[in-house]
């Protein structure tokens, strides 16, 4: 598991920042009144695609795959969660940013745990 402060902080800032941006953008693009299933899928795809160029830019600072995969996951999850909520009720931008940022933080924690688990177990699948 990554323990160097530069990379741990970089992972958190990247994912929280991208999550907040995707949250605000999704709520703006998919306001209340849309069908919840349609907006969930649209938000998921939008979040994943839009987070891709951001992830490429951040990867130069914080590492290639270690940045690309979590940031795209954050985009996907934040897009999905925010659009589901914003389709039900009108939300303020700071609310959507907070939800998106929370998704980013959750993705960092889950990917760190997944990395530890997969690295320990993956040898049996490939040798």
């Amino acid at each position: 598991m990554e323990t160097r402060p530069y990379f741990v902080l970089g992972d958190i800032v990247s994912n929280v920042g991208v999550g907040a941006l995707i949250g605000v953008a999704c709520a703006w693009l998919f306001p209340s009144g849309w069908n919840i299933v349609v907006t969930m899928i649209a938000g998921m795809i939008f979040g994943m695609v839009v987070s891709l160029p951001m992830a490429f830019l951040l990867s130069g600072l914080f590492g290639a795959m270690e940045t690309l995969l979590p940031v795209m996951t954050t985009g996907m999850v934040a897009g999905m969660v925010v659009t589901m909520q914003s389709s039900l009720t009108t939300m303020r931008p700071e609310e959507t940013a907070r939800i998106g940022a929370s998704c980013g933080l959750a993705v960092v924690i889950v990917t760190y745990l997944a990395n530890a688990f997969i690295r320990r177990r993956a040898t049996r699948w490939t040798t």
Binding site: L52, S59, G60, L68, L69, A122, T123, T127
Partner: protein, 202 residues
């Protein structure tokens, strides 16, 4: 020589260090040093030396031939290769058509190479040809993932990155086996995506 691939990497050479020299190298440096510490005293081939980002991780005093398909990449590598304390010779060559005799090298090393070789199994077979019997192949590579959501994400990324540089969803471990190598060890650096591979030519 594959002109499409050469042109692609000639273009990438301009911005390659900007993208790859800091974050990825700092993240992976310890794993690369560990892998390259396996460099022995025989003849070593390093495939796709690029702008020489890996050179500072090489142990001193080795005899290494570094190849790359892009002359512009090699031009940028000069500063780093000149600083190497050992015998490091650079050559522009395509891994599919290397100007080396059969069984010339004791070891072959690659670093983020087989995400970009157009025909990976053929490229690995070419490495097997230039390796001596029981010669060793050491690779530091990123590959596709078997897990959701990473697998479809990497397929999506590949649609965009294929034209500009690497592919993100290669199955390099399976390709090593398909090329006729015997797998000795796979170590996972990040999830099931970034890994080191040790194989032997049999």
């Amino acid at each position: 020589m594959d002109h499409v691939t050469r042109t692609k990497w000639d273009r990438a050479a301009v911005v390659f260090d900007l993208i790859a020299s800091y974050g990825p190298e700092k993240r992976w440096e310890a794993f690369k040093r560990d892998l390259f510490s396996n460099m022995g005293n025989g003849e070593i081939l390093f495939v796709a030396v690029g702008t020489g980002l890996d050179v500072p991780c090489f142990p001193e005093g080795r005899t290494i031939t570094g190849i790359d398909i892009s002359q512009k990449m090699l031009d940028q590598a000069t500063r780093r290769t000149n600083a190497y304390q050992g015998c490091l010779q650079l050559l522009q060559a395509d891994v599919h058509d290397m100007p080396f005799g059969d069984a010339q090298f004791d070891q072959v090393f690659t670093s983020c190479t087989f995400c970009s070789v157009p025909s990976p199994v053929d490229g690995l077979k070419a490495l097997k040809r230039v390796l001596k019997p029981h010669g060793e192949l050491f690779m530091f590579e990123h590959t596709g993932s078997r897990f959701f959501p990473f697998r479809p994400m990497m397929d999506l990324m590949t649609l965009l990155t294929r034209k500009l540089g690497p592919e993100m969803n290669r199955q390099t471990v399976e390709n090593v086996i398909a090329a006729g190598f015997t797998l000795k060890k796979v170590t996972h650096v990040y999830m099931d995506v970034v890994k080191t591979i040790h194989a032997v030519s049999t």
